[in-house]
Amino acid sequence: MTIRFRKTKNQRVSESANQRISEPQSRQIAESLHRRIAESLNRRIADSLNRRIFLWLPASLFLGFLFFYPLARILGLSLNVESFTEGNIRIAFSTLRFTFYQAFLSTLLTLLLGLPAAYLFARFEFRGKSLLRTLTAIPFMLPTVVVAAGFNALLGPRGWLNLALMRWFRLEDPPLLLVGTLGAILMAHVFYNTTIVIRLVGNAQTHLDPRLEQAARCLGASPRRVFWNVTLPLVRPSILAAALLVFLFDFTSFGVILLLGGSQFTTLEVEIYIQALHLLNLPLAALLSLIQLLCTLAFSIIYSRVVVRNVVSAAPRPAQVNLRRAKKFPERIFKAGMTVLLVTFFVFPLIAIPMRSVSRLEAARAERGEVQSGLTAAYYQELFINRQGSIFYIPPIRAVVNSLAYAGLTVVLSLALAFPVAMALKRPGSLERFLDPFLMLPLGASAVTLGLGFIISFGRMLTSPLMVPLAHTLIALPFVIRTLQPALASIPDRLRQAATVLGASPLRAWFAVDWPIVARATLSGAVFAFTVSLGEFGATMLVSRPEFPTIPMAIYRFLSQPGGLNYGQAMAMATILMFLTILSILLIERLRLPGTGEF
């Protein structure tokens, strides 16, 4: 007798409710799978190591070739007995002390602003949220000269704030002297880096399983205790990751110190710049670079020990589940207060730039103490004219296209290299624990030193335009890895195993299960890589080809000569850059990648 099981109408009806494979069922299947896997574990360990080496290969080759090799060569060339004189060591350590100090303070302040902001964006839905969050990301990609101009417009001796105070209190001299002080450096750092905290911590918070907090509430935890005992510990790894990244950026800060701090402030990177390129004292520059590298490595190792150990893989939830409109009164106050704070801190300095690009600036020079009046489009028009017939005239459209092209290439390259590494980091073995700290080094190495290393390692190859996205990728890679890593780590294997058992090939299973969860992190990483490239971090590394101009190049060019037209055009280009970035980020974030659904 053959036993065939075919559904009757009744059975069909009662099974319709269970048609989709529910999580409980998949877990069931996966558990038996787990048992079988456990039996052959030993055999598999060898296979998994090979697989992990394969995953690390692309990024390792990239970093090895583009980072470690030139760095080793320049340090090998410059480091010698001369480096380690007493005088040098004294300079090194006093510089190190200040570098540490300002980086530490800056990071603290950035967290102070960034954490509540991350909470705001992760939990609440309100009008203008997307735009506000994008605005906090703009400073990250602005060249420092532009940020300096914006800050000055707001906080300078004749900036809006001082002018307003002078008028209200009838003062002769500007009361707030912030430019050139440590305060200016700290503020600029916060301005630049808050977006890192918002993105990394915000991402983690958005994907927290809300049932954990609900369970806590049912167990008697008041909202405050829920936060302390459940939310915070689960979000802590992302806070640490963000803090480390911010610290590294502040530690290696260059443009901000040079342009906004007074001459009494030097960090390691600035000192390297002075010693290597102005005093032509390579041995000391090499010593300082080495110290900077070692410090970065130390922080990186601390990070891997502390954070990686604490990463908890909780199944992520769709973002929408966690978002709500602010209803209760304290929530409304928080939301309003944070929004005002963010708008003041980010919008005002940024607004100054477009405003300056359309204001008639020179007329005011004859009239002291008057606010400029008169709008003009002359600066934008001038952008398209090559008045002097200069061979280095940068047509704005070409600069925009080039900047975007470089940025696009950087995004593709960084994602391609970062994905395998983030996958390998899902279940860190001994290989991962060893290699992980080295990932952060490109952020902490001196761009000046690396640039010199490029010169002696690559020679004429350096002048190829493809070096630009490669160099940008070098900086963007750590970001993108750090953004992808928590998302990939949080995908429960059982879901994918369930899909596999149902007949999906590994690729389809990956697309069905991993991709939606990872897509959001990918977008975040893409945005990072994009803004790093647009802002041309570490541009000093490279020898630039005027035939491939970029927007920051144009801005620097205008600001290197006197004249109202030059200043105005610089502001106009900066405004174009700002709007370009806002648009691109908004577009990337709105992109509904196929299959992401609620994510």
């Binding site: 075919r6 009806v13 529910s22 409980p24 167990l219 008697g220 909202p223 205790r225």
Partner: protein, 337 residues
């Protein structure tokens, strides 16, 4: 003790709960039985205080709970996915509710040990919850819910993820725990076996309302609607039209139900034919059909006929055989409201 009155709630614009009302008495375990997506979990969350109903009240011993936030209600809720805190060990998870009650440390340790013992997990107290198997996690979740001695227990499909043996074993343990503690409990599931095993009273949810309440025997013996009969898998539910002579014409044949409902001719009606009431051979209500499928079920054979009806027979029949089946009773179901 717990009165739920006229709860309304929509989900994404569509009405979900449309007037849920019931009462739970001390020591009673009730079971909310309904299809997936019928709003059972939402109802639990409303009772727990995690969500607000759009209309209706929840009262505990007469006191309205509307203003009380979730963390002050002392209602235990065990989630479908366990929702164990991944950053805490097993013991810390179980201790969580006790910590929130500001119980001194030594007593916490004592109570945690007691709870873990109750669920047979004492050996795992130091482990990370992410290292545990599904069954172990479920027990930790149970211990965690019980430890703070809540005054009401709620379970949201807690056994769904386990395999059959484990599920039966845990069901038995749960039964004991519930009866020993005497705490009123609401158990939500879509699986009738669990419902019948654990509940004193079963509440069927359909279309946002409680369509039937009663003991397991009452509900299965007298299903209140065609939907209930289908959902509980009580047997074959056939739709038919009433003939002038009082008999009902269905797709499977003409049957004479024992019906006191006085239907008019031409009206449509639903009939329930329980598979166990079938006999081979002539009888009052008789269907003739060919055997389509036969499956051995330990105590009987489940026979599916070509006309769609399935019956239980004590002996084997061959596929393709023509049989004449009669039924001891054909029930008539009240209309689905």
């Amino acid at each position: 003790m717990l009165e739920v009155e006229n709860i309304h709630k929509s989900y994404e614009g569509a009405p979900l709960l449309q007037g849920i009302s019931f009462t739970i008495h001390p020591g009673e375990t009730i079971c909310l039985l309904g299809a997936s997506g019928s709003g059972k979990s939402t109802l639990l969350r409303i009772i727990a205080g995690l969500e607000e109903p759009e209309m209706g009240e929840i009262r505990w011993k007469g006191e309205n709970l509307v203003g009380t936030p979730a963390h002050q209600r002392n209602f235990g809720l065990m989630f479908q996915d366990y929702a164990l805190f991944p950053h805490l060990s097993v013991a810390a998870n179980v201790a969580f509710g006790l910590k929130m009650q500001s119980i001194p440390g030594s007593e916490i340790r004592h109570r945690v040990a007691e709870s873990l013992d109750q669920v047979n997990l004492s050996s795992l107290s130091g482990r990370r919850v992410t290292d545990l198997s599904g069954g172990e996690q479920q027990r930790v979740a149970l211990a965690r819910t019980l430890a703070p001695r809540p005054r009401l227990l709620m379970f949201d499909e807690p056994l769904g993820a386990l395999d059959r043996t484990l599920r039966e074993q845990l069901m038995a343990e749960l039964r004991l725990i519930l009866h020993d503690s005497g705490v009123p409990a609401i158990y939500v599931t879509h699986d009738q076996e669990e419902a019948f095993a654990l509940a004193d009273k079963i509440l069927l949810i359909h279309d946002g309302k409680i369509t039937q309440q009663g003991t397991p025997a009452e509900v299965t013996g007298h299903p209140a609607s065609a939907w209930a009969a289908r959902f509980l898998g009580l047997g074959n539910v056939l739709d038919g039209i009433v003939r002038p002579d009082g008999r009902v014409e269905t797709a499977a044949g003409v049957l004479d139900p024992a019906c006191g409902h006085g239907h008019a001719a031409g009206q449509s009606v639903s009939l329930l034919i329980r598979p166990g009431s079938a006999r081979l051979g002539e009888g009052q209500d008789c269907l003739v059909s060919r055997v389509k499928d036969v499956v051995f079920q330990k105590e009987y054979y489940r026979v599916t006929l070509e006309n769609g009806v399935y019956i239980h027979l004590p002996m084997e029949v061959t596929v393709g055989q023509d049989v004449r089946v009669s039924f001891a009773e054909v029930e008539c179901l009240p209309e689905d409201k």
